[in-house]
């Protein structure tokens, strides 16, 4: 068998290797996902955002920080497709570079938060007893923090800026993932197939890492994509309040903040970044919904 990757190879009833079986399974999930139009729309928009963010230096017609004080608050027109802001900077270019900032922040948060929450949740759920109690009480402490107050605390302690914003968001976002992973682990811990693995004499770390954690990943991915929209909104709020990305950084929330006094007459300046936030949040939400339909074991 040449192993040519085509549809038949993926959907075969009798795979001849673990790789083939795994890819077949992923392909079937993809087919299920593709059937959901809204989810596909979400995926396409998210991919478009990522492309814009990555290719911003080549897509943007102007430098996002170059000011042109003779052309302040310019109306959208060819040349400046989305107009100019209060310092004459091209809104479209700022939007594209702002995607970098926003998506970068979101990615940084997710990369720290998801594995941490998964680990803590699985360990707490599997071992139970005092380990569970201790870890869950720590989780409760972080869950109790109101995000904005924590962000203010960081601003007071460290400089306001993107790193403090990321830290503030991450520290208040990880508890739900731990809770989720723990709930899933509790459900799987007493199943016969985990009992069978225990009967091989496997160590607890092997059981958690190789048998339980992979089962929790599905719902965690769903939760992450759904959370992305709220992370984007929170980052924007921090920017709006002056606690996150600082001007002249082209972060979408900051852009709204600095332009809000022009809302009545030159409405496009604060509105365009607002629409961008809305579209990004909505896209992640739709994507997350679609992933849940496909990955959630209770629905399969």
């Amino acid at each position: 068998m040449s192993g040519a990757v085509n549809r038949e190879w993926l959907l075969t009833d009798a795979p001849t290797s673990r790789a083939q079986a795994a890819w077949g399974r992923r392909y079937r999930l993809w087919l299920d996902f593709r059937a959901n139009r809204l989810a596909m729309a979400g995926l396409i928009v998210v991919l478009a955002l990522v492309v814009c963010a990555v290719l911003a230096p080549w897509l943007a017609p102007y430098d996002p920080s170059s000011q042109d004080l003779t052309n302040r608050l310019g109306v959208p027109q060819p040349g400046h497709w989305l107009g100019t802001d209060e310092l004459g900077r091209d809104v479209l270019s700022r939007l594209l570079f702002g995607a970098r900032v926003t998506l970068g922040m979101v990615l940084a948060v997710v990369i720290t938060v998801a594995p941490l929450g998964l680990a803590i949740g699985c360990i707490a759920g599997y071992f139970g007893g005092w380990i569970d109690t201790a870890l869950m009480r720590i989780t409760d402490v972080f869950l109790a923090f109101p995000r904005l107050i924590l962000a203010l605390a960081f601003v007071a302690a460290i400089r306001p800026g993107i790193p403090s914003a990321i830290l503030a968001i991450a520290l208040t976002t990880w508890p739900p993932y731990a809770r989720l992973a723990r709930a899933e682990t509790l459900g799987f811990r007493n199943t016969d197939f985990i009992a069978a693995v225990r009967l091989t004499g496997a160590s607890s770390s092997r059981i958690i890492l190789r048998h339980i954690a992979p089962l929790c990943v599905g719902s965690l991915i769903v939760r992450v994509t759904l959370d992305m929209s709220s992370i984007i909104l929170f980052a924007a709020s921090l920017g709006f309040l002056g606690m996150g990305a600082q001007p002249p950084s082209p972060e979408w929330g900051t852009m709204i903040a600095t332009a809000r006094r022009f809302f009545l007459d030159q409405w496009w300046v604060p509105l365009v970044p607002g629409v961008a936030i809305f579209v990004a949040s909505l896209a992640f939400n739709l994507l997350g919904d679609g992933l849940r339909d496909v990955l959630d074991p209770k629905q399969r």
């Binding site: 795994a22 199943t191 009992a195 009967l199 091989t200």
Partner: protein
């Protein structure tokens, strides 16, 4: 081979198993029957080490069992579970499920052993890289049996192995279990609520009711009605009533 003396298991202050004693010779089959709640599965789980809240004395191959079981124990004693739909990891292929015991014990030559295991339980090679949801109930139970035998144990504990299977599949699996026992000289302890199934496979049977083993008798005595305890007689009557049709 197996000796259980005065086993007692308590859940939340209630005795699930109160003072059970029996012994199984090497290569023999011992059946435990009872209704739900009689404690029969609890005995098995205590024996295999899934439940460590027990008192009493249990020995396997002359070695006394302690609550902590080492890897060596699991190489000699294995279990097949009741529900074929729940005893296989849903995200792992059959190949992965069968290689896990070998990986944990560091046994080499995995590929050949898996192929041998599949043929021994009469599963086609095409099943090897499938996921559990792509197999039928009978096929999954065969995989569960193959998995239990991967490390070549001496004792196999069977917890209602055919209760969730169709009748025709049950017959195949019971025949398979009988063949495997002959070929590998295994010692079986089988739990079931079905008298006919237990009597078919096990020459010696223990009857449990409300946590106690109320009677121990041979399969022949059970068939012919030489019974001492009322509960056994009731169970036998319920079973033979339906056979008269």
């Amino acid at each position: 081979m197996i000796s259980v003396q005065d086993l007692r298991v308590t859940f939340n202050g209630i005795d699930a198993v109160s003072g059970v004693t029996f012994a199984v010779a090497e290569g023999a089959s011992f059946g435990i029957v009872g209704e739900s709640g009689s404690g029969k599965s609890t005995v098995l789980r205590a024996l295999v080490g899934l439940n460590n809240d027990w008192t009493g004395r249990m020995t396997i191959a002359g070695r006394a069992l302690s609550p902590k079981r080492g890897r060596d124990f699991f190489r000699r004693v294995q279990m097949v579970f009741q529900d074929p739909y729940g005893s296989l990891h849903p995200r792992q292929t059959i190949d992965r499920a069968l290689s896990e015991p070998l990986l944990v014990h560091g046994i080499p030559d995995i590929d050949r052993r898996i192929r041998l295991a599949l043929s021994e339980v009469a599963l086609p090679a095409t099943a090897r890289f499938r996921y559990p949801h792509q197999l039928s109930g009978g096929q999954r139970q065969r995989v569960a049996i193959a998995r239990a035998l991967m490390c070549e144990p001496e004792v196999l504990l069977l917890d209602e192995p055919t209760s969730a299977l169709d009748v025709s599949v049950q017959a195949e699996v019971l025949n398979l279990l009988a063949d495997l026992q002959d070929r590998r000289k295994l010692t079986y302890v089988m739990v079931s609520h079905n008298l006919a199934v237990v009597a078919h496979l096990c020459p010696t049977i223990g009857v449990m009711q409300a946590g106690e083993m109320v009677e121990m008798l041979s399969a022949e005595d059970l068939r012919s009605g030489h019974i001492r305890h009322k509960h056994t007689a009731d169970l036998r009557r319920l079973s033979t009533e339906l056979e008269e049709a």
